[in-house]
């Protein structure tokens, strides 16, 4: 409960900070938008219409009030309500992020697992080499290589737009690439450490096969720190989505934010950034709760 309140507080502060940052840009945004040929009267009228002539705290509370009701204003550059634009975009970003996370967890997890059980051998070094490639290649590099190889060269997969489920494959790989690398490293080191623990000896002493030892005893203990990493990953995925969606021309929250900046579209920018940040804040909260559920040691202890 306390965490929830803290999360809401942070979110409020975040929206305030965002609001202020976007408003201290000098100049009247309406004037900028209308270009050089607008006349004074029209500018003044529009400014009043949009409520931009009010003092800043009034504007903020009006915004908050609207936000709670789901109204994030109207986009300057695209003319539609921000919430409507975000709704459509959110679905794409969500699908992309989920696909990327799936890729990252499966590939990263497998690499880390296989590396840990054959520690210090050739497969280990190979998998860890891959993971290094994972964390050091910039998103755009992976994206463009994938486009070049699978789109241009081999013509196997679509490289732009959203036509069907296959459009998500390359972007998901590009977006998940970094995470896969981090997960692989974390899984390997955690699993390798876990396999040195005493209760693993006990499990082996009971006669369990190596597979059972790893699957039933080691992995559950390995999951705990990896779950905490999930929280950080969400933030990273949303960040990476900005680039991935731009390169693959997918209409998602990230690309919307870029469009907002290019169009000097404050409501749109504000809406997208606020939305994404809220996702991260609540994602972290859920990850914390998940950890509590998975680790019995954090539940209340019953003393004998």
């Amino acid at each position: 409960m306390k965490r929830l309140l803290q999360a809401v507080l942070v979110l409020l502060l975040v929206s305030l900070a965002l609001f202020v940052m976007l408003r201290i840009v000098p100049g009247n945004p309406v004037a900028v938008l209308m270009g050089e040929h607008a006349n004074e009267a029209t500018i003044e009228r529009l400014t009043a219409e949009l409520g931009l002539d009010q003092p800043i705290h009034v504007q903020f509370f009006r915004y908050l009030g609207g936000a709670i009701r789901g109204d994030f204003g109207t986009s300057y550059s695209l003319g539609k309500p921000v919430s409507q634009l975000m709704g459509a975009a959110f679905v794409n970003t969500l699908l992309l992020a989920l696909a990327a996370a799936l890729f990252a967890w499966i590939v990263g997890g497998l690499c880390g697992l296989l590396a840990a059980i054959r520690k210090n051998s050739i497969p280990d070094r190979l998998f860890m080499g891959f993971s290094l490639l994972g964390i050091s290649m910039p998103v755009f590099m992976v994206a463009m290589i994938l486009q070049y190889v699978f789109g241009y060269w081999l013509h196997w997969l679509p490289i732009s737009g959203v036509s069907d489920w296959r459009s998500f494959i390359l972007p998901a790989i590009a977006l998940g690439w970094n995470s896969a690398g981090s997960i692989a490293r974390l899984v390997r080191s955690t699993l390798a450490d876990t396999l040195e623990d005493d209760y693993i000896d006990t499990a082996r002493a009971k006669g369990l096969s190596e597979t059972a030892v790893i699957w039933r005893h080691a992995l559950r203990n390995t999951m705990l720190p990896t779950v905490t990493m999930m929280a950080l990953q969400l933030s990273g995925l949303l960040s990476g989505a900005v680039i991935t969606e731009t390169i693959f021309s997918i209409n998602g929250i990230g690309r919307l934010a870029v469009q907002a900046i290019n169009g000097r579209d404050i409501p749109l920018l504000q809406g997208t950034v606020l939305f994404a940040t809220a996702l991260v804040i609540f994602g972290n909260l859920i990850a914390d709760l998940l950890y509590k559920v998975l680790d019995p040691r954090t539940r209340r202890e019953v003393k004998e």
Partner: protein, 278 residues
């Protein structure tokens, strides 16, 4: 610290190689004008978009400029933008974090709330918003990166401080009446330094990547200055007929990021045994 470095070098050959690579990268960027026969803006419109060859080791770009030359000049920006803001954010973050940890109470709450706000944003979005507010250009990129990174540093510095606060010699210093400021400067900060140095080497890659992403989106460094990220962006239009335009700077970014990561890992392993090894 010195013996940690020595330990690392002995144990981890890869870290040593990365240290050398980083050193060379910095050296090359400084010596750029002397390393290449071409000027930074020399155009050769007869040979636009030519693939790597003996004369142009990494080919030429859309204006006929030698890619390798642009890479070298671009490294100045990209490396500086990776290192300097990270350093600054280290200093700011360390001071704020240690102060928050040591003084506790309201000061702690305020500083940590500020850090929470900064850390709640997905990094690219935060960078984009700040750049929007400040406007684009090199200086503002510096500022943005500094503002983004101090949060993690502050959190870690605060955690270290909390641990150190209760260590015996700090209590002893307090009992003889040493002022808070002096205790912070003489006992707490120096003990945070090894962790902070490791953090520094591991944060530089993310700064380099953020700048290149920003420039890639057209929101960071602007032409005619060159940065690796910007080069990737311009190269993108020619991805299919002149892929080297994008892949050369991407590769350079990757090299820098890898090296700093290896170095950071090696340093961390060298320092950690004091604290962690079973």
């Amino acid at each position: 610290m010195k013996d940690a470095l020595r330990r690392m070098i002995r144990a981890n050959k890869l870290s040593l190689v990365s240290l050398i690579v980083i050193f060379l990268l910095i050296l090359f960027s400084i010596l750029a004008p002397w390393l290449t026969p071409y000027g930074e803006a020399d155009m050769d419109l007869m040979h636009r978009l030519s693939p790597p060859s003996a004369e142009h080791l990494l080919g030429t770009d859309e204006a006929g400029r030698d890619v390798l030359t642009r890479l070298l000049y671009g490294s100045r920006v990209s490396l500086m933008v990776g290192i300097v803001p990270t350093l600054l954010s280290m200093v700011i973050g360390a001071v704020l974090g240690v102060t928050a940890g040591y003084l506790g109470g309201a000061v702690d709450s305020i500083i940590m709330r500020l850090a929470d706000i900064v850390l709640a944003f997905p990094s690219m979005l935060l960078a984009m918003v700040i750049m929007y507010t400040l406007g684009d250009g090199l200086f503002n990129v510096f500022l943005t990166l500094t503002l983004m990174n101090w949060g993690t540093v502050a959190r870690i510095a605060r955690a270290e401080t909390l641990k150190l606060k209760t260590i015996d010699y700090v209590e002893a210093a307090r009992s003889i009446g040493m002022s808070k400021g002096r205790i912070i400067m003489r006992h707490i900060l120096p003990n945070c330094i090894p962790t902070l140095i490791v953090l520094f080497t591991l944060n530089v890659p993310s700064a380099i990547l953020t700048e290149s992403a920003l420039s890639f989106l057209g929101l960071g460094i602007q032409p005619p200055s060159a940065s690796w990220g910007l080069m990737v962006n311009t190269g993108r239009q020619y991805l299919f007929n002149a892929p080297w335009l994008s892949f050369a700077p991407s590769g350079a970014i990757m090299l820098a990021v890898l090296s700093f990561n290896f170095l950071g890992d090696g340093l961390r392993d060298a320092i950690d045994p004091r604290l962690r090894r079973r």
